[in-house]
Symmetry: C2
Subunit: 366 residues, 2 copies
Amino acid sequence: MKRIWKKSLDEINPYIPGKPIEEVKRELGLSDVVKLASNESPLPPSPKVIEAIKREAANVNRYPDGGGFYLKKAISGKLGLPAANIVLGNGSDEVLTTLLRTFIEPGDEIVIAKPTFLMYKISAAIEGAVVREVPMIDFKYDIDGMLKALGPRTKALIIANPDNPTGTYVNIGQLERIIEELSPDILLVLDEAYYEMARGGDYPESVDYFKKGMNNLVIARTFSKVYALAGLRAGYAIMDKDIAALYDKVRDPFNVNSIAQAAAIAALEDEAYMNKVLDIIRKGKERFYSFFENMGVEFINSRTNFVLVKIGADSSPFSKALLKKGVIVRDMSAWGLDGYIRVNAGTESENDKFCQAFEEALGERR
Amino acid sequence: MKRIWKKSLDEINPYIPGKPIEEVKRELGLSDVVKLASNESPLPPSPKVIEAIKREAANVNRYPDGGGFYLKKAISGKLGLPAANIVLGNGSDEVLTTLLRTFIEPGDEIVIAKPTFLMYKISAAIEGAVVREVPMIDFKYDIDGMLKALGPRTKALIIANPDNPTGTYVNIGQLERIIEELSPDILLVLDEAYYEMARGGDYPESVDYFKKGMNNLVIARTFSKVYALAGLRAGYAIMDKDIAALYDKVRDPFNVNSIAQAAAIAALEDEAYMNKVLDIIRKGKERFYSFFENMGVEFINSRTNFVLVKIGADSSPFSKALLKKGVIVRDMSAWGLDGYIRVNAGTESENDKFCQAFEEALGERR
């Protein structure tokens, strides 16, 4: 076949996800494997969610509600916003892909940080966008640099808040500066996948700015993290209702499966369980912090459930050494962060296994 | 906000799905509603599928296997094709959307029939494609007309086989003619959502042509119909491995949720249950045929689980009359088929309710 595919694809390397536990077991012949590589919830979903999934199982011969009536209603009640300001996606990945598909024409630009979540660059490049990457300074957002990178063809400034993989964030003062200086014809997209973990202190409650009338603000959130529904794929975003109507033109009509809708509603209702997950994450992260300090290893303070850790020049063999000991973490080379790994807080026993494997791997290296 | 969204969107009307049962109950205050509007399976999924869903429920805090290893393996075993020739999607809707996103640049063309599944036109138009629609003749594919519509910018000829909403199909001789005349640089996309219902006689086993080396052939199939998994969103396609690699660049990394993957594997394994579903569909359709004949109502012979029925000039009020009696069918005005409805075979009692409501509505009209 002649080269008939889209030209933009030639430059794109597909996103390589963290390896599933099953795959590592299969490939390395291991029986006991822990995965601390994909920033998932350390706990399974709430028992009420599991009930909702089981209840919905016998109805899956029917298409999902394409409008997501009840899930939007639940989110809208929680946020105090009309359902017309909410869109749903097959994970917040799809929310962002769909948003880019709504706005990007070849040659348009987006501005993002470096390092940040890799999918922004990939999804935008597929649509033919020019991606302006603004390096972080000391692993923190360079707000000046990002504002300077905006131009007449910029369609969106996309900020992961907090960022993945650094765990750092844009604070209230910085967000207000961006809002003040940003043209109303450029979308400000805040990807708040870790919102529930980041809340408090000077972390901004972005929905308040939306409520005050900033209608070029888009806030994406997910059920994949503290709500423990990564496998089911459910995300949402808050946006101006006219943008939501455009988004709904572009998305597939049945993009969010019916079990995800039922599970997400149940997860939203069980706040006590979410707090339990948050508590385990907090404890695990504190443990990691003191462990790394004891080991004399540098790390970045994080507002999420993961920590970026400096291993030195050989992070790729180091990650492989951990893998052979049954611990999956993320080697950060694909982010341009040679010498770093990213690890997320798990259950107490998973954290034990990680710390032991980490200490052994450090020892073997010396 | 200035008009910063993609220009192609202005011309697009979003796909309007069949109303969910819950929505009709809510809107009309009815308690007993049957839905024969979305060509779903008349039965819930197999008990083995329900077991698989329940088993998977506690693991949804983990991301799905982005590569779909086990599901691809199951499909590949069934078809006798390498897993590298199989891609997965969030329903076959997403398979087709992703394929178009892989190939279409603004100004490229696709050729489809009229009427056919509405999503081809919508998805292609979002990517900026020019959509050439070739009217069917007597509700059958006009092969000559479609071949004549191909041009130097045509990227794909998309055929729903069998077609939705007509239920008619391209037979072996017609397919072979297309294969003979089609440039190898144009994709032939066969959407075989109803494949399992259509098999036999002169309906082509398209995979055989793929195996014989036709590498511009793409065959899309779904778990939403006889496998009764519409709610879960799982579809797949068979294609050249280089095209599959491009497709995998464009799709979101976790596009198929983990419960859908487990359920689809279980559904593939339970062939006895699928045959039971096929049997109920066959009986329901035969009943509809004789019912319409007795009523003196014209219909189109169908290789699927649905039937296109001629109501006359007033199909929209007629559909609404059925709706008020608790029966959801599809009014075909959105397809440009004023005067027609589409109804799918349900369970025996659902078919009873439909026939009674239909007869009443006919009587009220006279």
